[in-house]
Structures are given as structure tokens and as C-alpha cells.
Amino acid sequence: MLGQHLAKNFEIKTLGKLKYFLGIEVVHSKKGIFISQQKYITNLLKETGKKACKPTSTPIDPNLKLGSVEEDTAVDKEMYQRLVGRLIYLSHTRPDVAFAVSLVSQFMHQPKEVHLEVALRIVQYLKGTPGKEFCLNEMGM
């Protein structure tokens, strides 16, 4: 009904069951709906040149104390902001990197070498687990 109404007004293409929306892959199963951004991660790895890197098992060093430093060499601000921006978008389906991303996003205004290293470490972690999916299921399951 709705589709017909819409088609009356606009030229519409019915794509069926939701599979891909805004860079998020959606998989339906009995256990619930799984969302992932595998393609997005692959593109991110390609862009950062980390396609062949050695994956790490954690997104961040557990004892890391990150603060704003003055002495360290500055890095390309635009590149850093772009990278962190992509990571922020990624944390929609990857809450496991959300904390690390929130850390690196605090230095968008004055990124230094140390901050970039931490950000790239997140990418390195993603390399090891690109297909991890976020599961949405019925309450209590």
C-alpha cells in the first residue's frame, strides 16, 4: 500500500529487505538483526595504508595516559580529523572501540604524533576483527 502510494508520487525502486543503508550492512536471522560495517572498515584500512599490518588484540594500551602535549611534533590536522571522524562513524556498530575513539577525539584541535599513534592502533585492532557484528535482538535473549 505504502509502496504504491509512494510510487504514485515519485519514481521508486523497491529494494526489498533492508541489506545496506548508509554504509551499514544489515543481516537478518532468527536470533535478531546483525549490523556491521565490514566494507567501511576495509575502505578505512585501504585509506590508512594498514591493509597488511599486524592486527593487535586490543584497541588501546590498557595503561595509556593520553593528554595534550606541547613538545611532540604536530601531525596533519585535516588527516587526523578525517581519520577520527571515520572512527566515530564506525563506533555506531562497534561499541568495542567507542572508548578509544572518544579518547582520540579529544585532541582534534591540536593532534600530535602520540595521538595519531593511538588512533592508528585502533585501526590496527579493527584489522583483526573487521567482521565483528553488532546484534540487535529481542529483550532478554
Partner: protein
């Protein structure tokens, strides 16, 4: 060494430099390599190896190339041969078997004055530009390593080959005149014009005095299928939105898009209530928007010929490229959704909800031209 000095006095500076440099000699060696396939060279080569079989490979190579130098350079430049003999006097004996080299090079060796007389025509030639003086190098006319020997398409699958060739054969035109030379693009433009007319995108009017005119142009794209074959030729008419001025022919331009949180919330709802999730996509979405401002656009290139010069298009619907196109499209979409009985959410303006007591909910979210629909209203979603 003293011989060297006397030798320089009779040579042009260029040749001296060339002779002295070891790297320059190496360069020559490379250039001479093709000659190896010719008769007399092979002979001398064999002689060399016979005479000095115990020499290290490095030395052996030097000897051979030195000889090569002597032979080929003879016809062109004598100083080269002189150099070889001077730097490696022992070579002279090795070269003797080749009569051609022997006669001239021995005369060079004892008396440095002699080569000058024998090669006078060469020095006259020096006045001629180098491009004319030097004949075409053999490696240029007959490549040693033709690319075809190392590169082949033969192992590609037929479909991939077809894709590769189509990559080279199809090009998108960048100008109208280029597109007009091809029938396919003409057809594509005709189809677009027909669609625009059917959509009643504009009225033809005479340009009122003091009104601004917005330009437009054609943009061409080829869409490919997954296997690389051409799906269709697409010609799109775009308005030159950068010529618009705020307050004159456009006002507000903001158009909302779905928030990521809303997307996740809808997915979560669908998972929790086991709702059906569906996806739509609106074709040429921006062309559906209605223009409220007064915009005059010039006639599309190629289609303006028949009418008088003062005629312009007064836009009724939006075109790609206009500043207000996204907003116009979203306004139109909202109007249609409300007409269908949906309520616009105040938390996220791209979310539309229809609640019916007897049948249930329908939730719709729009991101420019992508739409997701979910809910438990089976009837509403049927035949979607």
C-alpha cells in the same frame, strides 16, 4: 698519464669529459649491446674469452665491452677508441684479431696527432645540432625488450578482457560538441529532455526586465553493469547553482537527514518486535522538488536554437545543481507523507509514523533518497 694530457689539447672539451667519465662509458656499453648479434663482434668476443679465461667476470666484461666500443665507435667517433686503448693498453693485443679495429686504432695509439686527421669530417660535423648529427639509436628503432614480450592479456577471462577493452573504447564527452558527434549521447539527451518536459519542469517565457538568469549545462556519465558491460548512457541537465545569489533566487537551503541514532533505534525496534524491514530508493529525487522562488534559467544548450533569443525557462520544479534542490525535495516528500496520513516526528524530522488502531504502526525514515520502512501494519506494507 702524460699521454692523456697531450691528447686533451687536441680534443673538444665535450669529448674529454665523455672519455674521462667511467659512467659515460658504462652508458655506451649498454647502447652497444644490441650489436652483439652481428657477425664480427661474436668473433672478437670469442677471442677475448679464449685469451683471458682466468680473469674475473668483471674484468672479462670490461674487456669485451671495451672492444665493442672500439668497433662501433670507429665509424662515428675516434676519440672513444683512443680512450679505451689508453686506459687499458693491454686491450690492444686483444683487439688485433679484428682487422677493422686494428688498422685504425693502432695508428691512434703511437701518435695522438693522427686520429685527428683521420676523423676530420667528424669534427666538422660537431657544428651540426646533436639531434641531426647522431643517427637514431639502435635501441630506439628496435627495442631490446619490447613490452609485448612481457605483458599479455591472454590469461584474463573473456569477460574481463571485454571489460578492459570497453574501458579504452568508451569515453564520456566533456563538451556538448563532443557529445553531439555521437548518436548515443544525442539519444540520451533527447530522453532527458522528454522526461523533463513530461515532468513539466519549466515554462518557456520571455525574460522579464531586471531578472537574473541562471546557466545550465549537460553532464554525461556511463553507468556500468556488474560485469563491466555498459548499462546505459546518461545525460543529466544541471543548473549552474553557483550563479545564484542569496535572497534573490534562493532563500533557505537546509534540508535535514536522518540521525544515526534514529536509524539504530528503528533497527532495534524491528529486532525487538520482529518487524519487517524494507528499503526503497527514489530515482531522480531532486527533480521532484517544487520551486517556490522565481528562477529563470537559460535554455538548455542544443535545444535553444529554434526559439527567439529572449526566451528563457521559468523553473517550476527543481533541477540538479540548484541551491535549494535538497530542501525543495524534502519539502515535497514531507507533504506527500503527511498526505498519506503519516505524522512527522518532532525529534527527528526525517522520521514519519502512522498509527492505526486496528492494524498497528508503520515507521518510515528517509535519508535524502534512501527510505527504510518498518512496523507491524502488515496491510500497509503489503505489496510494497
Amino acid at each position: 698519464m702524460s699521454r692523456d694530457v697531450t691528447f686533451f689539447e687536441h680534443q673538444s672539451y665535450f669529448h674529454q669529459a665523455h672519455l674521462q667519465g667511467e659512467t659515460a662509458r658504462n652508458e655506451d656499453e649498454l647502447l652497444m649491446l644490441p650489436d652483439l648479434s652481428f657477425g664480427p663482434e661474436i668473433e672478437t668476443k670469442s677471442v677475448t674469452t679464449e685469451k683471458e679465461p682466468t680473469k674475473s667476470s668483471q674484468d672479462g666484461a670490461d674487456v669485451r665491452f671495451g672492444k665493442k666500443l672500439v668497433y662501433t665507435r670507429k665509424t662515428k667517433a675516434i676519440p672513444e677508441s683512443v680512450h679505451v686503448q689508453q686506459s687499458k693498453p693491454t686491450l690492444l693485443e686483444v683487439t688485433t684479431p679484428n682487422p677493422l679495429i686494428y688498422t685504425k686504432s693502432t695508428s691512434d695509439f703511437p701518435n695522438v696527432q693522427e686520429p685527428e686527421s683521420s676523423s676530420t669530417p667528424l669534427y666538422e660535423n660537431l657544428d651540426i645540432p646533436i639531434a641531426l648529427r647522431k643517427e637514431t639509436r639502435k635501441c630506439t628503432t628496435k627495442p631490446l625488450y619490447p613490452l609485448a614480450n612481457y605483458l599479455s592479456f591472454k590469461n584474463f577471462s573473456p569477460t574481463h578482457k571485454a571489460f578492459l577493452t570497453s574501458l579504452n573504447t568508451t569515453t564520456t564527452p566533456t563538451s556538448l560538441s563532443e557529445a553531439l558527434s555521437d548518436k548515443k549521447w544525442k539519444q540520451a539527451m533527447d530522453a532527458t529532455m522528454e522526461a523533463l518536459e513530461k515532468n513539466s519542469t519549466w515554462n518557456l517565457v520571455a525574460l522579464p526586465n531586471g531578472k537574473k538568469l541562471v546557466g545550465c549545462k549537460w553532464v554525461y556519465t556511463i553507468t556500468y553493469k556488474a560485469d563491466g558491460s555498459i548499462e546505459r548512457y546518461k545525460a543529466r541537465l544541471v543548473a549552474k547553482g553557483f550563479t545564484q545569489t542569496y535572497g534573490v533566487d534562493y532563500m533557505e537551503t537546509f534540508a535535514p537527514v536522518a540521525k544515526m541514532n534514529t536509524v539504530r533505534m528503528i533497527l532495534s525496534l524491528a529486532a525487538n518486535y520482529d518487524w519487517n524491514l524494507q528499503q526503497f530508493d527514489v530515482k531522480n529525487s531532486f527533480l521532484h522538488g517544487k520551486i517556490e522562488e522565481e528562477i529563470y534559467m537559460e535554455l538548455p544548450p542544443r535545444y535553444g536554437g529554434k526559439t527567439t533569443t529572449n526566451t528563457v525557462c521559468k523553473l517550476k520544479k527543481a533541477l540538479y545543481g540548484l541551491k535549494q534542490s535538497p530542501r525543495a525535495w524534502f519539502r515535497r516528500f514531507t507533504k506527500v507523507m503527511i498526505g498519506l496520513g503519516f505524522k512527522q516526528s518532532q525529534g527527528d524530522h526525517t522520521l514519519f509514523i502512522k498509527h492505526s488502531k486496528s492494524r498497528g504502526e508503520t515507521v518510515l525514515l528517509v535519508y535524502v533518497d534512501d527510505i527504510i520502512v518498518t512496523g507491524d501494519d502488515e496491510e500497509e506494507q503489503q505489496r510494497c
